[in-house]
Amino acid sequence: MAVAVPETAEPLLSVQHLSIGLPRRDGSWALLVRDISFDVHAGVRYGLVGESGSGKSMTLKAIAGLLPRGVAVMEGEAWFEGEDLLTMPAHRRRRIMGPRMAMIFQEPMTALNPTMRVGKQIAEGPRRHLGLSKQAADELAIEMIRRTGIPDPARRARAYPHELSGGLRQRVMIAMALSCKPALVLCDEPTTALDVTVQDQVLRLLAQLCEEMGSALTFVTHDLAVISQTCSRLSVMYAGRIMEKGGVREVYRAPRHPYTEALFQSAPDFDEPHRDLVPIPGLPPSLTNPPPGCPFAPRCRYAVEACNAGPKPLTRVREGHLSACDRVGQIFGGDS
């Protein structure tokens, strides 16, 4: 009955005060992610966007339990269906991964087992998690391949990964991830390895299939255009923090953080092909010794003295739209 999920409903995935650290030789920690929180509600497609080193991939890896050796969660929780993913024992996680939560990888070339027919690879999850017979699982695999729009699915199911193109492999990966109808799908830049034309098709397919199956999506990318195509809500990350958070449409129409604005101005836009691109000056700050105030202040054209001091918490600018800039009012005018 309720079409729009109210923000008050219990979120599917709730990341609270997550900090991720990398130990340094002198015993101190470089914080890759600093105290970030966000909620993904059932059926919502959520984007995490930011440049390299912003901590978006680490956040996703922490949720998936894939943090590289040495990198550790310093603080925080990631609640998923009433359990904390970050402290969950491995056997418990194995039961969730697949039927409740799935992941799609960045590289379709390396994320499929070269010695196994793709149909068998898709069928593996359902056989284990849904308790299907060999035959039923194989049929489900073919059905999933068909749903990803690959022609002649029964024949394709018998192909080895090296016999398929990058686009087809990525579709197989999507079929694999969605084969157990997970409630949440995690994606780490799933289309960066593909041609732009194929990219678009795959993104549409991903969004459409998630819609059909009622799966929520958490999508990590550096590409704002990709987010606008697939997601309905997003967080903009910079130097391990969330700078702005809100509905995709609102943020795109009226960004409320200088960093988001600068990102938009530095990216080409088909609607305004003659607009000059404005690069962001300088480099992201050091993660070991971050600026005390707003991490973007050294590169921000609106920065004043006060920006370099004190923590900058996310504050509400509008219903469901938050910004970590405490000068929102002065910079963007007080329309909230």
Binding site: L66, I96, M97, P99, A111, L112, E124, R128, Y160
Partner: protein, 292 residues
């Protein structure tokens, strides 16, 4: 010389195409390699048909004869037909060589896979044991073990198994550590599959080709070990024909009846070439891009 250059040029052509799609019977190392091994095995199997003589029965009235129409390669100092001993010797050397490889191949691969996949203290314990075995030269260790266990076929199997599993363990562990970081392995683990399934179905098939290739060259090594042990009088017990003990027995006649010592050696070399070529061909054939 020209043969070497030719092989190298073939090799370049084979490697330059990303995917070598020639069927196995077109592989220029595998086919001659398998052919040589097949001939050796056939000769060994058909020994009773190919020669009317018993390789063990002594004829002290016909010792140390030169080649004749009756004894093509002459007779040894106990009057036994040299050709018959050579053919029956192949049975022993090939059988022990091929069989001796199986236990270390299986055991070493499994331990290596466990060490590489799980890491941590399991890895440390297994690899320190490997280091201990690695610290000794292969022959010294095998000879010492056979000396302790007593000569005979079963103690050769046991000694070789105890010593050569470490190579498989090292090879497979290295490959598994690389494969474990592959996204498809992470994807399989993330798909909630159990460790056994991930190891057996996703890691295993992608790493085992290296171990299989090594097993081929390991057979040569094992045959060398058997021959060496036979030469030293520690291997297969005397009346049984075996190339190593044939060389040892014949060396006192090396200036006159030289073929008695040389021919078993040549047999070892030919077997070795056949196994090497097979190993080489398997490397091409089993590389992951090439699979099916």
């Amino acid at each position: 010389m020209s043969g070497l250059i030719l092989t190298r040029r073939w090799r370049l052509r084979a490697r330059s195409s990303a995917r070598d799609l020639r069927p196995w019977y077109r592989n220029e190392s595998l086919v001659p390699g398998l052919a040589i091994i097949a001939v050796m095995v056939l000769l060994a199997l058909l020994a009773p048909v190919l020669t009317p003589y018993d390789p063990i029965k002594q004829h002290l009235d016909q010792t140390l004869q030169g080649p004749s129409s009756a004894h093509w390669l002459g007779t040894d100092k106990l009057g036994r037909d040299v050709l018959a001993r050579l053919l029956y010797g192949a049975r022993v050397d090939l059988r022990v060589g091929f069989l001796a490889v199986l236990i270390p191949f299986a055991g070493g691969s499994v331990l290596g896979a466990i060490a590489g996949y799980f890491g941590g203290w399991l890895d440390i314990i297994i690899m320190r044991i490997v280091d201990v075995f690695y610290a000794f030269p292969l022959y010294v260790l095998v000879i010492a073990l056979v000396f302790v266990l007593g000569s005979g076929e079963s103690s050769i199997y046991l000694a070789i198994a105890l010593v050569s599993w470490v190579s498989y363990c090292k090879i497979v562990r290295g490959e598994v550590i690389v494969a474990r970081r592959q996204e498809y392995v992470q994807a399989a683990r993330l798909g909630g599959l159990g460790n056994l399934r991930v190891l057996g179905r996703h890691v295993g098939p992608n790493v085992i080709s290296q171990a299989i290739t090594y097993a081929m060259s390991d057979i040569i090594l094992d045959i060398m070990v058997i021959v060496t042990l036979g030469y030293l009088g520690l291997g297969i017990t005397p009346p049984t024909p075996e190339w190593g003990s044939m060389i040892a027995d014949a060396q006192e006649f090396i200036t006159t009846l030289w073929w008695m010592a040389v021919l078993p050696g040549v047999a070892v070399v030919i077997t070795g070439i056949g196994l090497s070529l097979t190993a080489d061909g398997l490397t091409d054939l089993l590389s992951p891009e090439r699979r099916r």
